[in-house]
């Protein structure tokens, strides 16, 4: 057993800090999507505790524990980050802030952004002051993402953007969007795409919410009608957006794969079922399998983070993490619905499982479908012929 004194000290001081600073209402397992703090200029905190928890964590940079301190991050090592996560899980502390800015745009800016872009955008993301949405998909460009048609025309010191995005999660609540736009219509489709940042308050941007089967409207159609976008909002090279898009997708896929709260920090599914007094051999057997798969998948997320720390990028294997994690999450929710019986069939009431269960159906679609993930594994990792 490797006993590391500095780390032991970090664990002790972290535990003490969390004990003192994590408000009681921000602790405890089993919280729903409604209780997530997304931040942003227009964010209405659902409680004082939620606000205080975000402010305290952001002040330490612990909303983005691994980002460099110069951009407001926590500057933690992988081992310290693991300890922080463990100590948060121990007291059931909630994630203070989610996640599109932190988990998707942030890593892409750290890798591809200019120094000015990092200085300008990263600290507000850490503090939860700027909320982002992702403008990738279009009506004609889903799995075939490189087919995006929204175009950005060069107009001297700015671009003029026209077109439509779809399935843009939280576009109506976000402060800004990172979007894939076509900047060269004559180039092969992967080579004419640029990655731009657009203020959602710009003139000509409008959104229309789309209602989901879960009853909620978290995503929108987003329209761009002669929108002026300053050239300084171009990330990376002109027509070099596809590489950034793909890099960001690997982070998105890792996030979606491991993202379901219940998956990693949650209670044992067998104990949830045990407490409900169900006596059904099929449900019991499904619960065993789900339990085994959940633990093994959690270790796989850990193993890939360890590998990343050791300098081996996750890369295409993020497709595997996404495929395994999302299919597993759907399996868990199917099981919980079966265990809940008629008590899980209402929109409101105890736990309101049904909307979450319905929402999980999207896990294997958003961020690239399971079929697309399997294709990536087959061709890029297994090198099977086209």
């Amino acid at each position: 057993m490797v006993v590391d004194n500095a780390l032991a000290h970090f664990r002790a001081s972290t535990a003490a800090w969390l004990e003192e600073n994590c408000p009681e209402p921000m602790r405890g397992a089993g919280w729903s999507e409604d209780e997530i703090c997304w931040g942003g200029k227009r964010w209405q905190f659902t409680s004082d505790a939620q606000r205080v928890w975000l402010e305290r964590m952001a002040a330490k940079g612990w909303t983005a524990p691994r980002w460099p301190t110069e951009y407001g991050g926590g500057g933690l090592s992988r081992a310290q980050d693991k300890v922080l996560a463990e100590e948060m899980a121990r007291i059931g502390a909630r994630t203070p802030l989610e996640r599109i800015g932190l988990r998707m745009l942030g890593p892409a800016l750290l890798e591809f952004g200019s120094e000015a872009q990092k200085q300008r955008y990263l600290p507000p993301i850490v503090r939860g002051e700027m909320r982002w949405c992702q403008g990738y998909s279009e009506p004609g460009a889903g799995s075939d993402l490189a087919g995006v048609q929204t175009r950005a025309e060069d107009a001297g010191d700015h671009f003029v953007v026209n077109g439509q995005k779809v399935w843009t999660s939280y576009a109506d609540k976000a402060d800004a969007i990172f979007a894939l736009v076509r900047t060269d219509r004559d180039a092969p489709k992967h080579k004419g795409i640029s990655f731009v940042l657009i203020d959602m308050e710009s003139e000509g941007v409008s959104t229309r919410p789309i209602r989901l089967i879960s009853g909620k409207s978290p995503f929108c159609e987003t329209f761009f009608d002669d929108v002026r976008v300053p050239k300084e909002n171009l990330v990376g090279e002109l027509n070099g957006g596809w590489a950034i898009a793909k890099y960001l997708l690997t982070h998105e896929r890792e996030m979606i794969g491991g993202g379901a709260r219940g998956l990693l920090g949650g209670r044992a599914i067998s104990s949830i079922l045990g407490d409900s007094g169900i006596d059904d051999p099929v449900i019991a057997a499904d619960a065993l399998r789900t339990e085994v798969d959940t633990l093994a998948f959690g270790l796989t997320m850990e193993r890939y983070k360890d590998a990343a720390e050791a300098g081996q990028g996750v890369g295409d294997a993020s497709a595997m993490l996404k495929y395994a994690g999302t299919e597993l999450n759907k399996q868990r929710y199917d099981l919980m619905m079966a265990a809940g019986g008629s008590s899980a069939l209402t929109w409101d009431g105890e736990g309101a499982l049904a909307p979450e269960w319905l929402r999980t159906k999207a896990n294997s679609i958003e961020g690239g479908t399971s079929e697309v993930m399997l294709g990536i594994i087959a061709r890029r990792i297994l090198e099977l012929p086209a």
Partner: protein
């Protein structure tokens, strides 16, 4: 509160070197060809191959340096087991170098050093019925004065036909089904009254029923404390389960590698069959299954090295996952090979059969999944 640095699930440099060395040696030794030849000749052991492995120190991977081992630990043992699984290399590694070495650690040092040198082999005789279960042990060790008399039968003991010695779990008290009253005896295999019958195992390996007909033993033959045999044998069983899990993970990878090669090689409709999306997706799904299991295997080794007494959850998780993955890997392996995969001339069948046997050894999927659920509650 633990002050330990959370151990990385990635291999250390030493472990990577060990894997490379093992893979290199096994590639040259061609264990699959040896297995086929042995099967055809009706031989169930390959002492020559084991001697070479022992010469590289594999038999002493868990033994302390004072007894001639390298004490590299359970993760390292798992890496060796994985590499042997990948090539279906047959050896008494798990029974002797993992289980016996764990049971003997800190006890009978002359035997331990002989195990570490590969000069002494063991079989672990615990199960009496068709499924793994220590508590149902009925084999009686009755007291006769200050001696014992063993009567009963152990079934399908892995490496039981050729082992030099046998660790046998017997009942000195309590009743079958109870965890108390069990005692472990460490006996030479040719002691009077011990009768071994080789079973014709589908995987062509050494498995034997071992009957004890009034076998005499003394207190000197007891390993650990009388009546507390479970404590004496459990660490060995746990280590063995982790090693078999690792073997199964390696076996899956071996079957998968053959399958992927075939997908690139075999042509139908004028194109490689690996260009068909249906097969690509099945292969990708299987690879995902293997990746998730690989994490459970690495974790089990780390958990055993960190604190063996609390590692059962990690080990059961590994064995359950490995069994599940191996089932899928060999089933898909045959299917994606088409007719050739069903022939005896093709090696895939050896993987199918070994997967089934190794899955049963020391507890199958259901046994370990139930353990996981119980330990998590």
């Amino acid at each position: 509160m633990s002050a330990a640095a959370p151990a990385s699930l990635v291999e250390t440099d030493d472990e990577a070197l060990l894997r490379d060395a093992a893979r290199g040696f096994l590639a040259g030794a061609d264990p699959l060809a040896r297995l086929r030849a042995m099967r055809d000749e009706g031989r169930a052991t390959d002492p020559e191959l084991w001697r070479e492995m022992a010469a590289m120190g594999w038999a002493g991977v868990l033994v302390d340096e004072a007894n001639g081992g390298s004490a590299m630990g359970h993760r390292a043992a798992g890496i060796l087991a994985e590499e042997m699984g990948r090539t279906l290399a047959l050896s008494p590694f798990t029974s002797s170098a993992v289980m016996a070495a764990t049971a003997l650690a800190g006890r009978a040092t002359d035997r331990l050093s002989a195990v570490a040198a590969g000069d002494l082999s063991y079989a672990i005789a615990v199960d009496e019925g068709p499924k793994h279960n220590l508590a149902t042990t009925a084999l009686a060790a009755s007291r006769v004065g200050n001696r014992y008399r063993l009567d009963g039968c152990k079934r399908f003991v892995a490496d039981g036909g050729a082992a030099d010695r046998i660790l046998v779990l017997a009942r000195t008290g309590g009743s079958p089904g109870g965890a108390d009253g069990l005692t472990v005896f460490d006996l030479e295999a040719d002691r009077a009254g011990i009768e071994r019958t080789r079973r014709d195992s589908i995987d062509a390996r050494d498995a034997a029923d071992i009957t004890f007909n009034g076998v005499e033993a003394t207190g000197d033959d007891v390993l650990g404390d009388e009546g507390n045999g479970l404590a004496a044998i459990a660490p060995a069983i746990r280590a063995g389960q982790a090693a078999v899990a690792a073997e199964l993970a390696g076996l899956s990878a071996g079957a998968f590698a053959m399958t992927v090669d075939y997908l690139k090689d075999r042509k139908q409709f004028g194109v490689p069959i690996g260009s068909f999306q249906a097969l690509q997706h099945r292969a990708a799904h299987l690879w995902t299954h293997m990746e998730v299991t690989a994490s459970a295997i690495a974790h089990a080794g780390r958990a055993l090295d960190d604190d063996a007494d609390t590692a059962q959850l990690a080990v059961s998780l590994a064995k359950a996952r490995a069994a599940d993955t191996a089932r899928l890997a060999v089933a898909e392996g045959v299917q994606m090979h088409g007719g050739i995969g069903m022939t005896d001339a093709h090696n895939m069948g050896f993987f199918v059969k070994r997967a089934r046997v190794a899955t049963e050894w020391l507890g199958d999927y259901g046994h370990h999944a139930a353990h996981v659920a119980r330990l998590r509650r």
